[in-house]
């Protein structure tokens, strides 16, 4: 379990990335969503021990993250996929995973090789495992990143934008893989893609400008948007009122159907619809902005 209390992080130049975040994350899959610059990556880097908080307490799997020995203990139980993963271009995918496995403490050669082969198959890289990483596509590199995070069977998995750069099929596959893994451990998924969270996470937190706006189940966030989501059909060239946030647009033969969130949709064609998680998220953001 992870417990974060009144966490603050201020970078040089008085840039306040986190402003008193308090969170409890239990076993299972946890979604962390929020706009760019909300502080998601900073929070994840603190949880992985890469950054030190300016103030506040962080306890990961029973270890206090301000202590260096505890930090090392957490790192040995951790799998982390950074948002921008750097790889050694001269190594092959197999070699890179072997290298990371050694650094994770999997020193028995036989066990290491077996684990690497299994993970390469799991992420669909078995056929290209011996190609140098500099010749691999962005999606393939991302999959190598996911495989390295899973090395050593970590109890805590932290993945920052894992599906960025993946094609839709790969995205679904990865999403399912993470959901399967979550049964036995804690998985923290940070993403911009709300659909990924709605399909996999049992709990989520919405972070905005370094503060937690929401922390509950995805259903709870959806519930908040009840009565605030509509479809409005307009002739081409016309736009919904500025007070409404457009979620999606569907072009029909002679008109355009908008899905909107807002306080009130006074347009005659407005039809209330059942909200989904994306609506809930946008409604929350809209409320926070106002």
């Amino acid at each position: 379990m992870i417990s974060v209390t009144n966490l603050q992080k201020t970078y040089k130049g008085d840039v306040r990335a986190l402003r008193g975040v308090t969170l409890e994350i239990e076993n299972g899959m946890f979604g962390l969503v929020g706009p760019n610059g909300a502080g998601k990556t900073t929070l994840m880097r603190i949880l992985t021990g890469l950054l030190r908080p300016t103030a506040g307490d962080v306890c990961v799997l029973g270890h206090d993250m301000t202590d260096s020995y505890s930090k090392m203990a957490v790192k040995s139980m951790l799998g982390y996929l950074p948002q921008e993963l750097g790889l050694y271009p001269s190594l092959t995918a197999r070699e890179f995973l072997d290298y990371v496995a050694i650094l994770k403490g999997v020193t028995a050669q036989r066990a290491r090789r077996q684990q690497v082969t299994e993970l390469l198959e799991l992420v669909g890289l078995a056929d290209t495992a011996d190609r140098r990483l500099k010749t691999c596509s962005g999606g393939m590199k991302r999959r190598v990143g996911i495989a390295q995070a899973l090395l050593g069977n970590p109890r805590l998995l932290i993945v920052d934008e894992p599906t960025a750069g993946l094609d839709p099929e790969e995205r679904v596959r990865l999403r399912n893989l993470l959901a399967d893994m979550a049964g036995r451990r804690t998985v923290i998924l940070s993403t911009h893609i709300i659909e990924d969270v709605s399909q996999t996470c049992t709990k989520l937190a919405v972070l905005h400008e370094g503060q937690i706006l929401f922390h509950d189940t995805p259903g709870g966030l959806v519930k908040r948007a009840h009565g605030h989501v509509w479809t409005i059909t307009l002739p081409p060239g016309e736009r919904p009122a500025d007070t409404l946030t457009v979620v999606s647009t569907l072009r029909l033969d002679d008109r355009v159907e908008y899905r909107v969130v807002g306080d009130e949709a006074s347009h005659p064609t407005a039809q209330p619809v059942t909200p989904n998680l994306e609506d809930g998220y946008l409604w929350l953001m809209k409320q926070s902005a106002s």
Binding site: T48, R52, M72, P82, G86, L87, Y88, Y99, L103, G105
Partner: protein
């Protein structure tokens, strides 16, 4: 520090150095320069009419002269190579991890800074050891074909006690001094600054005891090379007929150095190696401390 992790970093670091071709290029140019200088020495000696005649009749003289040629070729090239070529090529060993973004991943692994730093340094040295072995073999074989047999013990001493420590110290210093740089470009600048420092130390060499702290290890150059040359000259003088003994290179180059006010002594060789190890160790400790401090302030 975990041994398994350390061995893993050393193996992969050495392998990556070779694959990036930096070390391969160094090996090629080092070997080419050695062969070129060796050939020049050989041509110069061949032009000596008396020596050519004596060598025809006395194979032992030929071996001594070949040994002398080999030593005189290796020393200047190795020194220039370790000062001018190694620092800019290897100084980015650690900063490139930062530039490529691998550091973020490494920071999330149960890997302490000491193991990482030691692994990077030893991995670089491992790749250089392979390179030096290859160059020594290529040059040695080429010279064997051109000059004929020469003293293997003199040749190996030159490489193992002479070239290897000098190359290890300059490469180690380059890697460590540039470790804090954020990118490869800045690291190369540090490498160039290190070259300037080495040249300044080299030109201020006095042959006195203070030379043992010089990063370019001039004591090696002065003492080891001159001692080797002296022994070869003595051997040569013994082999030559009395009428031709003026061909041998004076009574002792070491004596000549003493006459110039320098005080070289063979005891300075282990001392300068020990001082070099302490210097690299100290810089390693400073860099490790700095990395830990950076980690702690987050």
């Amino acid at each position: 520090m975990r041994l398994g992790q350390l061995i893993g970093i050393v193996c992969y670091e050495a392998s990556m150095h070779w694959r990036r071709r930096g070390v391969l290029m160094l090996a090629f140019f080092f070997a080419a320069a050695l062969v070129l200088v060796g050939l020049l020495h050989h041509v110069t000696l061949e032009a000596h009419p008396k020596l050519a005649e004596l060598r025809e009749n006395m194979p032992q003289i030929s071996k001594i002269m070949a040994s002398s040629t080999v030593i005189q070729s290796v020393w200047p090239v190795a020194l220039m190579f370790s000062i001018l070529a190694i620092p800019p090529v290897l100084s980015d060993t650690i900063p490139k991890d930062r530039q490529m973004g691998v550091c973020t991943l490494l920071g999330s692994l149960p890997l302490d800074r000491a193991t990482y730093l030691a692994g990077k340094l030893l991995g670089t040295w491992a790749s250089l050891l392979v390179m030096l072995t290859g160059v020594a073999l290529v040059f040695g074989t080429t010279m064997l074909l051109i000059l004929g047999p020469y003293s293997l013990s003199v040749y190996l001493t030159t490489w193992i006690i002479g070239v290897l420590p000098v190359v290890f110290f300059t490469s180690g210093m380059s890697v460590l001094l540039a470790a804090g740089q954020p990118n490869r470009r800045r690291a190369v600048f540090v490498g160039i600054a290190f070259i300037v420092l080495c040249i300044a130390m080299l030109v201020t060499t006095t042959g006195s005891a203070k030379d043992i702290i010089s990063l370019t290890r001039p004591t090696h150059l002065i003492v080891l090379q001159f001692e080797q040359m002296h022994h070869l000259a003595v051997d040569l003088a013994q082999e030559l007929p009395e009428s031709e003994s003026d061909i041998a290179m004076g009574p002792s180059p070491t004596e000549d150095l003493r006459a110039l006010g320098m005080k070289p002594s063979p005891a300075q060789i282990p001392l300068t190696i020990a001082v070099g190890i302490v210097q690299v160790g100290l810089v390693w400790l400073i860099v490790w401390g700095w990395m830990r401090w950076k980690e702690n302030i987050g």
